[in-house]
Structures are given as structure tokens and as C-alpha cells.
């Protein structure tokens, strides 16, 4: 990813987009743009990466041990925040090193100035990572296991912040409230271009924009002179991050969930059985009917569907139903390009552990020891996921069927299969669900932003229709094959 952050002039995409202009590939441009892109991308995806530190302690029950140690709530949460920060800073370090390597590899002829790499990373990326790390802790404290809600709120906040950064005009207040410190940099770039070409330009925007080759002018960017108010604002954001953790410590459950539940509603009483727990008569095997063999996969499909439907907060189904109904009535293009990708992405936590939940729940001893698990359980998991994805896309499928648009129907089905086999393949290979969640988010983001290379559900126009279908089907087949091969090995090597 870091390799792509600072494209050459000949590249068909931009990352820091100033229409009609490109910066000369000197140390300042390479260092600043790479630091900006690291800040933006990692602020966006980093949250997904680190927002499960407390959940891990809950799942492993280490939390119960921690709860009875003298560690204060604030110290515990701060340690979680710092561990999140370490993960994020490790990635920042990697992109930093790659940016320097790229500068030398591309040999643009400009002098290498280390400070032009170090300083923007320190001033932009590090405080931003503080904020992301603390927001992840805050989200876990207040929204617990409601992962999708966490994502939604975070990305809404992120979107609002980025919109404010991309808006025109910069003043001291804007500098102060910009958590990523980007406004100052973009303003300086705009100012540099204005002074070199005597033209008024829009503020630069960020993100991968594939616009092909267009005529452009090259400007020289030398970085900025760091002003004290700006530096103070960066430190302030580090302070705010720590304050947020301190604030959340007042609401931290300290792994005492029953108490929290009681305050909301009475918990179902745990039955206290009198007498022996294994019935006095034991298991009366004479009452058992003879075993009837049934090796079909339908009981699995039924249970897998049940697990998918029951996962998460049941009230969230109202949002799903709302979007589903909206797809019935919204213009077809909007329903296909925006509503369906969003509806599918909202199911990310249902699908991300489709093929890993048996390991997470320590049921893999049973599933791997089952009769022909590779040909019964894994297909059932995939099938149940696809059924749910298709059920979500049903309004669109029906509308395309009425319009006799077979091409779109095939694309939708291919897309439904892709999101599921991707979840299964990534889950089986990595053993976790995080990577899939990040990839699916990036895919959804790219589709909504009309990046045609990421169009996995046929919502954009493609020149070669057959070629497009073949590519998607091929991807699905490859992911399926990989899943079966790796699971086949895993099931005999516990």
C-alpha cells in the first residue's frame, strides 16, 4: 500500500489530488504526501484493526483475572490505548521506511533530506494515531460488542472531519480542530501553487483517484515552516486522546457484565436443580430409537442460517429491513450502486467469522472430527452465507428479472458469492476475521466511490461484459479452491 502512496507523474492515478498539477518528486513532496496518505488511510482503516483489544480479554476471560488485580480502570484502558497505538505506529514505521526506499528507487535527481520525511510523520501521523487508538478504546467501552455500530459512527465522524478538511479556507480555529493536521498542509500546497502559477486553485483532496493521464503542470513543494500554534494543536490532540481514555474509564464495565445487565432488565434466573445433575436413572438407552444415518448438508445449512440471523443485535434488523425496502423503491442504479453495497457491508460481522467461528468457539474438535467435513460443513457454511446475501439482494434481483436483465442478475449472484467466498477464504487462511472486515470495507468504499476495478457486483459499466463475468467467476472459483485446500490440511493437523 505504501508503495502506491506517492505515484510517479506517469501513473494513471493520484493520491493527493490537485486538478491540473503534480508536485515534483523531491524529498518534501515524497515525505509529506506519504505522511499525509499514511495518516488518512491508517486513520480510516486503523480503527478496524485495533478495535478489539478489550473484546479479546472478554473472550479469553483474561479480563476476569485483570478485574481482580489492583490495576485502575484508567491504567488498564490506557494500556489498551497504548497497545493499539503500538500496532498503528508499527505500520506507520513500515510506510515511513518504504517511502524512503521508494524515493531512492525512483531516483528523481533531487537531494534526499531526511527531515522532510521524519518531521511530517512525527507531526501528522503520530498524533493522529493517538486519536485513533483512543477512539477504539472509547468505542469498545461505550458500544461493547456492537461492532457494526462502532464502524458506522466512526466512519461518520471520519467523513465529517475529512469534509471539513477538504472545505475551502483555513484559519486558526480550523487548524486547531483538524485532528489530523492536514488542513495546514493542504493550504500550504494550495498557496505554493498559487504563488508559483498565479492561479487560484481548489483545496487538494485525498484518496486514490483513477483519472487516467491528463495534462498537468509540475510545481515545486518544499514543505512548510511549522508554526507554534500548529505544533501546539498537534500536542493538544495527543492530550485529548488521553483525556478521552480517562473519560471512558468512568464508564468501564471492568468485566462485570451481570451487574450491567441487572440494571437494564432482570436476567433469566439460573435454575438450581435439586438432586443429582445426571439423572438418577442415567441415560436409558433402551428408549433411544435406532440410529438413522443422514449425511445431507441441509441440517447444517439450517443451523448456519440460524447462527447468521441471530448474530448481533436483533434491533439492527430494523436497519436491514429499512434498506431492503428502500431497494424496492429507489431508482435501480442507486439501489445497485449504493444501497446494496451498504446493506451487504452492514452484514460484515455476520460473514467475517463464517468459517472461523468453530475455532473461535472451540467447536473445531467436533467439526473436524465429523464425517466428511470438507464436503458437508464447509459447503453448508458457504451456502448459508450466499443464501443470506442473495436474500438481501432480492429486491434488486426481482427488479432485474422483471426487466429481463440477465447480465445484472448474473453479476449480483457473482457478487453475493464473492463476498462470501472471500470471507471464507480469508478466514480460513488467516484464522481471524479482521483482514476480511478491512478488505470488505475498502471494497465497499471503492465501489461507492465508483472505482471500477473494485466493482464486485456489476454496478458500473464494463466494456467487455463476458470478460467481466469470467473474471469474477474465476476469482470466486480460485477463492473456493484455496479455501477447500487449506481447510483440508487444517482438519487433519490440529
Amino acid at each position: 500500500m505504501a508503495y502506491l502512496f506517492v505515484p510517479l507523474h506517469s501513473a494513471s492515478y493520484t493520491t493527493l489530488n490537485v486538478p491540473g498539477f503534480k508536485g515534483a518528486y523531491n524529498s518534501a513532496w515524497a515525505g509529506y504526501v506519504s505522511a499525509i496518505m499514511t495518516t488518512v488511510m491508517l486513520s480510516m482503516y486503523g480503527f478496524l484493526l485495533v478495535n478489539s483489544g478489550i473484546k479479546k480479554d472478554i473472550d479469553t476471560e483474561v479480563g476476569l483475572i485483570i478485574a481482580c488485580t489492583p490495576i485502575s480502570d484508567f491504567s488498564y484502558l490506557l494500556s489498551k490505548m497504548l497497545s493499539n497505538l503500538m500496532v498503528l505506529l508499527t505500520i506507520v514505521c513500515c510506510t515511513f521506511v518504504v517511502s524512503i526506499i521508494m524515493f531512492f528507487m525512483r531516483g528523481s535527481g533531487y537531494a534526499f533530506v531526511l527531515a522532510n520525511f521524519v518531521v511530517p510523520y512525527l507531526i501528522l501521523a503520530v498524533p493522529a494515531m493517538f486519536l485513533v487508538a483512543s477512539l477504539a478504546v472509547l468505542a469498545e467501552v461505550f458500544l461493547g460488542k456492537k461492532n457494526v455500530l462502532q464502524f458506522l459512527i466512526y466512519f461518520m465522524l471520519f467523513g465529517i472531519t475529512m469534509a471539513a478538511i477538504n472545505s475551502r479556507g483555513a484559519n486558526n480555529l480550523m487548524t486547531l480542530i483538524d485532528p489530523f493536521g492536514l488542513k495546514t498542509i493542504t493550504s500550504s500546497i494550495a498557496h505554493e501553487i498559487s504563488s508559483q502559477f498565479h492561479t487560484d486553485i481548489q483545496n487538494p483532496s485525498f484518496g486514490f483517484i483513477f483519472s487516467g493521464q491528463k495534462p498537468f503542470k509540475v510545481f515545486i513543494y518544499e514543505g512548510i515552516h511549522w508554526q507554534l500554534p500548529f505544533l501546539i494543536s498537534r500536542l493538544l490532540w495527543v492530550g485529548v486522546s488521553i483525556l478521552l481514555v480517562y473519560f471512558s474509564s468512568f464508564f468501564f464495565h471492568r468485566f462485570d457484565f451481570k451487574q450491567t445487565a441487572v440494571s437494564k432488565k432482570p436476567v433469566a434466573e439460573v435454575r438450581q436443580t435439586n438432586g443429582p445433575n445426571l439423572a438418577a436413572a442415567g441415560i436409558n438407552r433402551s428408549l433411544m430409537p435406532p440410529v438413522v444415518t443422514d449425511y445431507s448438508i441441509f441440517p447444517f445449512v439450517k443451523t448456519e442460517l440460524l447462527l447468521l440471523i441471530r448474530k448481533g443485535n436483533k434491533w439492527f434488523w430494523l436497519v436491514n429491513i429499512g434498506l431492503w425496502l428502500a431497494m424496492c423503491f429507489a431508482p435501480l442504479a442507486i439501489a445497485h450502486a449504493y444501497l446494496l453495497p451498504v446493506l451487504w457491508f452492514l452484514q460484515v460481522t455476520r460473514w467475517s467469522d463464517l468459517a472461523t467461528k468453530e475455532k473461535t468457539n472451540r467447536l473445531h474438535y467436533f467439526t473436524f472430527a465429523a464425517y466428511r467435513p470438507l464436503f458437508r460443513i464447509l459447503p453448508a457454511q458457504i451456502l448459508s452465507g450466499v443464501i443470506l446475501a442473495i436474500a438481501m439482494a432480492l429486491p434488486l434481483l426481482l427488479r432485474y428479472a422483471i426487466a429481463a436483465d440477465l447480465y445484472s442478475i448474473v453479476n449480483l449472484i457473482n457478487g453475493a458469492v464473492l463476498v462470501i467466498v472471500l470471507a471464507v477464504a480469508i478466514g480460513i487462511i488467516t484464522g481471524g476475521k479482521k483482514l476480511y472486515e478491512i478488505i470488505f470495507f475498502m471494497l465497499t468504499y471503492a465501489v461507492i466511490n465508483k472505482l471500477s476495478f473494485a466493482d464486485y457486483l456489476g454496478s458500473m459499466v464494463h466494456g467487455n461484459r463476458i470478460g467481466y463475468i469470467v473474471i469474477l467467476t474465476g476469482l470466486n472459483a480460485a477463492a473456493l479452491l484455496l479455501s477447500f485446500m487449506v481447510r483440508s490440511y487444517q482438519s487433519r493437523h490440529l
Binding site: N277, A280, I283, L287, V291, V292, L306, R310, Y371, R492
Partner: protein, 290 residues
């Protein structure tokens, strides 16, 4: 039904070996596996239940190679792993139906089969509750029920009594004894008394190797004339422990009654010989093989 295990070796990597050249032949009845942590009990059970492949060696069930043909044993296998989990969102009925599907059990009688099992492990009243709300003992009982869903002919229980209270343990032992007539049952436990009361044969393992296998009497013979008791002043206990291999201690007024292992000609003064039990023999075998 005969399960023949020959020269089984399991290497996890260059430095870690789970089993070394392990051979044993089992017929219907209960085999108790005893051994300290890391002895290879769970590794052996995983290999027999076909979820782990041996690095070397063979496993034949009634003459059929189950390493190459795992489906042969899976159809008739009941397995209760040591640290199994559940899907917390499913209730006991749904969970057992899911496991039944894994084992290839279905048909009209399935519901009745599940009810009998739930009745047998006394979970009928809680059968509609999500398993996530169950206590440790209740989860262990649902584990026992799932192992019996398919009328297994090979039953593997890895530490089955963990989480069960004393009464549940007694019932579990009774259940296992009833099943042993037409089943090969392999049972591992740290609690020697669990094995002592029900196992037809005992295999003692250490460091991935089989130290010995035989009836309980055969095993106990290893410690014959080697177990003694003596009263020791509490202040002298550290010195005593440094000289002798202590099996058990109990407080007796102002002294400590110590049960220890020693050669007959090297006992502590005033010691009296006592009859060796399975636990004594097990400790003697594992300590003398360190």
C-alpha cells in the same frame, strides 16, 4: 472391535514431540489414560479421533487403516475433547441437532434420541435456553450428551469430569460402565480415583511414551513394598521432602502423617509399610521415570 495402534509418533516440529513410538491394542472395555501434563494423552486422543495425523505409525480399527480412511471411525466415534466450546446462541436442542448432523444422524427418531440424552444428563428443563447461559458443569454435560448421539462404538473422553460436581462424577462413572460392554472407551483424567473405579485397564504415559499398561492390579504391583507412612514433625518436613518422594501428607494433631515412596531398605525410622493404591503406583512410575 479391535483398535491397534502401532509405533505411533507425532512430531509437531523439530523440538516438540507429542508421542514417541507408541503401541497399544485395545478391545471393548475401558482404558484409563494416566499421565502428567504434556504426557501425550490429548495428542493420542486427537490422533485416534482423526483430527491429527501421526508423523509415523499406523492405526487400524478392525483391520481398516483409519489414518487413510478416517470416515470409517468417524461414523462410530463419540469424542469429548478437553476444552471444547459451544455456539452460545444455540439452545441445547439446536446444538445437539447440529452435532447430530455432523455425525450423520437424522431421521424421525432424532428428536426422541436428543430428548432421552437431555433427560439423561438432566438438561431437559434448560433445553430451550441458549447454551451461552449454562454453567461449566452444564456445558460439560451437554458435551457428554453429544458424544453419545450416534451410538458410538469408540468413545474418547478427554478429562470428562472437569467441572462436574462429586455427584455428577459418580453418575458419569456409572454411565461409562454401562456403555463399556460393546464399546472401546478411552478415558483420560488427572483424577486417579475416576479411573480407579471404572477402568478395566490403565495405561500410564509420560513424555509422549507409554510407561506401562495393564490391569489395575498389574499397575499397583509396581509400587508393592515401596509405599510407607510415617509421622513427621512439621519443622522437619522440608528435610524429609528433600530425601524422600512424598505422595501425600495429612495433618494429625501436632505432627504430619506422610505417605511416601522408598525402597524397603532405605525407609525413614518408624515407618510402616502400607498397601499401594493406583495413585501410589502412578506417582511411583511417573517419578521414577523422570
Amino acid at each position: 472391535m479391535v483398535l491397534e495402534i502401532k509405533n505411533l509418533t507425532k512430531k509437531y516440529n523439530k523440538h516438540k514431540t507429542g508421542l514417541t513410538d507408541y503401541s497399544i491394542t485395545l478391545e471393548n472395555g475401558i482404558l484409563g489414560l494416566l499421565g502428567p501434563n504434556g504426557a501425550g494423552k490429548s495428542t493420542l486422543m486427537k490422533i485416534i479421533s482423526t483430527i491429527s495425523k501421526p508423523t509415523q505409525g499406523t492405526l487400524f480399527l478392525d483391520g481398516i487403516d483409519i489414518v487413510r480412511n478416517p470416515g470409517h471411525i468417524r461414523k462410530i466415534l463419540g469424542y469429548l475433547p478437553q476444552d471444547f466450546g459451544v455456539y452460545p446462541n444455540l439452545n441445547a436442542y439446536e446444538f445437539l441437532k447440529y452435532i447430530a448432523a455432523m455425525k450423520g444422524v437424522g431421521g424421525r427418531g432424532l428428536n426422541q434420541r436428543i430428548e432421552v440424552l437431555l433427560e439423561g444428563v438432566n438438561l431437559m428443563a434448560d433445553a430451550k435456553r441458549p447454551i451461552g447461559t449454562y454453567s461449566g458443569g452444564m456445558k460439560q454435560r451437554i458435551g457428554i450428551a453429544q458424544a453419545l448421539l450416534n451410538d458410538p462404538k469408540v468413545l474418547i473422553f478427554d478429562e470428562p469430569t472437569v467441572g462436574l460436581d462429586p455427584e455428577e462424577r459418580v453418575r458419569f462413572r456409572q454411565l461409562i460402565t454401562e456403555l463399556a460392554d460393546d464399546c472401546i472407551i478411552i478415558l483420560s483424567s488427572h483424577i486417579v480415583s475416576d479411573i480407579e473405579t471404572i477402568a478395566d485397564e490403565v495405561a500410564v504415559m509420560q513424555g509422549g511414551r507409554l510407561i506401562t499398561k495393564g490391569s489395575q492390579q498389574d499397575i499397583m504391583k509396581h509400587a508393592e513394598n515401596k509405599v510407607f507412612e510415617v509421622l513427621v514433625a512439621p519443622a522437619l518436613m522440608p528435610e524429609f521432602k528433600s530425601k524422600y518422594s512424598v505422595i501425600d501428607t495429612s495433618r494429625q494433631q501436632d505432627q504430619v502423617r506422610v505417605r511416601y515412596i522408598s525402597e524397603l531398605n532405605a525407609t525413614a525410622p518408624s515407618s510402616t509399610p502400607v498397601k499401594a493404591g493406583l495413585e501410589d503406583a502412578y506417582l511411583f512410575l511417573t517419578q521414577s521415570n523422570v
